[in-house]
């Protein structure tokens, strides 16, 4: 349903063009959950934004994004609006900042349905209350009259999830939907999102830096490093069959409940953004298996992994 091919995004930072996504390709099938994981600055949020065409002003996008055959990057303003109305809905990281503070929760939930589908207020409110019940907010009728500042972050993110589902989208773009929440509500909200997505049969692009969470929630996972996907694999294969040294490094640098270690193994060095990456493989400076070839040429993305030494290592 969603096909991304050789996506490349350049942003203008103080007039300088900077590559933030460098050659990224992946697909998401109807009803499938795809997790995009990576460190800060790896370009995962920008990928989600590119899919919704919500990149900052002055961004240059090349490559292909096709949604059910529609060329997303070439949509005219009116087609783009329809695409946002009918096909994709974004769930943002920080619900408090992403919901208009001066309007009521009811306004927020029903605005799109009333504006885009010409729904009557009553009708839209009924639908909103039903969706609020689905996200675990029982007193929806009362909540509709409240303002965002009267709700907790966890509740607001549930409102955000409900609002994303108001338009019956085919693809949810969830950009770190639990990062801004309290640890205790994170798993609750994640559970709700996961359940509703499955119940409504909506596909999802799930952005996170939590490898374990992505493995639990998604069907497939893409691992991003410095603006490109270095490996895609199915969640089931995450622990046994990770092939790229970066994915393996991420897996071993997690604390474990069962094993006792004096120090947590870490990947040496610091994560890079695409524009800081050296020639050759972007991960080469931090890779334990680096050889001369890695510094000279960037490996191609072949058979789900981007590594020169994949044959020897896995």
């Amino acid at each position: 349903m969603l096909e991304i091919k050789n996506l490349r995004v350049r942003l203008r930072v103080e007039g300088e063009p900077r590559t933030v996504i460098h050659d990224t390709s992946f697909t998401i099938g109807a009803g499938e959950a795809f997790g995009l994981i990576g460190e800060s600055g790896s370009g995962k949020s920008m990928t989600a934004r590119a899919v919704a065409r919500l990149l900052p002003e002055g961004a240059e996008c090349t490559g292909e994004i096709a949604f059910a055959g529609k060329p997303v990057l070439a949509l005219k303003p009116d087609e783009l609006r329809r695409y946002r109305v009918d096909d994709v809905a974004m769930i943002f990281q920080d619900p408090r900042a992403s919901i208009n503070p001066v309007r009521t929760v009811g306004d927020f939930l029903t605005e799109a349905a009333r504006t885009n589908f010409g729904m009557r207020r009553r009708e839209a409110e009924d639908k909103a209350v039903a969706l609020l019940a689905e996200v675990g907010i029982a007193d929806g009728g009362r909540r509709l009259k409240q303002h965002p500042h009267q709700l907790s972050g966890g509740l607001l993110q549930r409102v955000m999830i409900a609002s994303a589902l108001m338009g019956d989208p085919k693809l949810l773009l969830a950009d770190e939907p639990t990062t801004a929440l309290d640890v205790t509500t994170q798993s609750e909200v994640m559970g709700i999102l996961n359940r509703l997505r499955a119940e409504h049969g909506v596909a999802m692009l799930f952005i996170t830096h939590d490898l374990e969470l992505a493995g639990a929630v998604c069907d497939r996972i893409g691992v991003m490093y410095a603006g490109s996907i270095v490996e895609t694999l199915s969640s089931d294969a995450l622990h046994e069959a990770a092939r790229h040294p970066y994915t393996q490094g991420l897996l071993t640098s997690r604390p474990s409940l069962t094993a006792t270690t004096r120090r947590l193994p870490v990947i040496p060095g610091k994560p890079l953004s695409a524009f800081e990456a050296p020639g050759g493989c972007a991960f080469a400076p931090r890779c334990a298996h680096v050889i001369a070839q890695c510094r000279e040429s960037g490996p191609e993305f072949v058979d789900g992994v981007r590594c020169h030494r994949v044959g020897e290592l896995s």
Partner: protein, 317 residues
């Protein structure tokens, strides 16, 4: 009682308390100011001590400060602003016709400021590029030019030069008055319009960059509705603040313009009365200006609360 009801009562209480404090400061300041009204009254002629004594007694000039303040205050609460020492008439009579001119001038200028300032600000904020640059350049110039200079230029060009507008005087009847007050109102409005335009632009630009605006866009809301419902509506809080303060400030600013256009308004009367040490008049006018300012500010606070329910009675954001 509802949150809003409590809020209004608190605001009303604050308003009365502020006015009371202001009245004390105004009375105290005029009492401390140098200058002797008796000297002005007698015109420097030598007058026998008995007459002076009777004059001082008549105007209660030798009573203790607090008792004079109390008399003045209770008088005002009964609608008696006292008597002018120079004109020997009730201050309220003297102010009546002059107040009308000033109020009309200020309201006229306020309408111009709000209409032109907010419109220019919105246009500049939404149209990046040439339109924005031209408006910014214009407002920079507008803010830099003092109102007396604008007044002179307007008189030279539109009154004496082109002859479209009268040179001075307040006019008779409503339309004639508006015609007479057009140039003064423009002179009074120019720099404030520029200020309101710039701040409106800044407020809208800031709101345009907010994440919740992006959410609305991502839900496929048409741009013009995003601007109206999410940008303009939210930017109203800072715009209301600036507009309220600016309009309140006009009451004081009108004094210069009234002079330039020989309008017999409150401002001109205040300057005149200060030079003649006519305390009752000065006190009444200053208190009137302060009261207008405070009342307008309270109105702005109430408007805030209606625009953004997060604003709480204690003034916490």
């Amino acid at each position: 009682m509802s949150e809003l009801g409590k809020f209004l009562i608190r605001k009303l209480f604050g308003l009365v308390a502020t006015l009371l404090a202001a009245s004390f400061v105004v009375f105290g300041a005029t009492a401390l100011a140098p200058g002797d009204p008796i000297a002005v009254l007698t015109g420097g002629r030598s007058v026998d001590p008995e007459t002076i004594a009777s004059l001082r007694a008549h105007y209660h000039l030798d009573d203790p400060f607090l008792s004079r303040y109390w008399q003045w205050l209770t008088g005002i609460l009964h609608g008696d602003l006292g008597q002018s020492i120079i004109a020997r008439r009730d201050v309220s009579d003297l102010l009546a016709s002059r107040t009308e001119t000033t109020v009309l001038l200020v309201v006229y200028a306020a309408v111009l400021i709000l209409a032109a300032g907010i419109t220019l600000g919105i246009v500049a904020a939404l149209r990046k590029g040439a339109v924005d640059n031209v408006i910014m350049l214009g407002t920079t110039a507008g803010m830099a030019i003092p109102s007396f200079l604008t007044a002179i230029v307007l008189i030279v060009v539109f009154a004496t030069g082109l002859g479209w507008f009268p040179v001075f005087g307040p006019g008779d009847g409503f339309t004639d008055r508006l015609w007479h007050l057009t140039l003064p109102a423009i002179a009074l409005a120019v720099s404030s319009t520029a200020l309101v335009a710039r701040l409106t632009r800044a407020a809208i630009r800031e709101e345009l960059g907010k994440e919740h605006v992006e959410t609305a866009i991502s839900r496929g809301i048409p741009r013009r509705l995003v601007v109206r419902r999410h940008v303009l509506r939210n930017a109203m809080v800072p715009i209301t603040t600036v507009s309220g303060l600016t309009v309140a400030g006009l009451v004081v600013g009108s004094l210069v313009v009234e002079r330039a256009f020989s309008l017999n308004g409150i401002g001109a009367f205040l300057i005149d009365s200060v030079t003649k040490s006519d305390y009752p008049v000065v006190q009444a006018i200053v208190l009137l200006l302060v009261a207008t300012f405070v009342v307008l500010n309270t109105l702005v606070d109430v408007l805030y609360r209606l625009i953004d329910s997060r604003i709480e009675p204690g003034g916490r954001g």
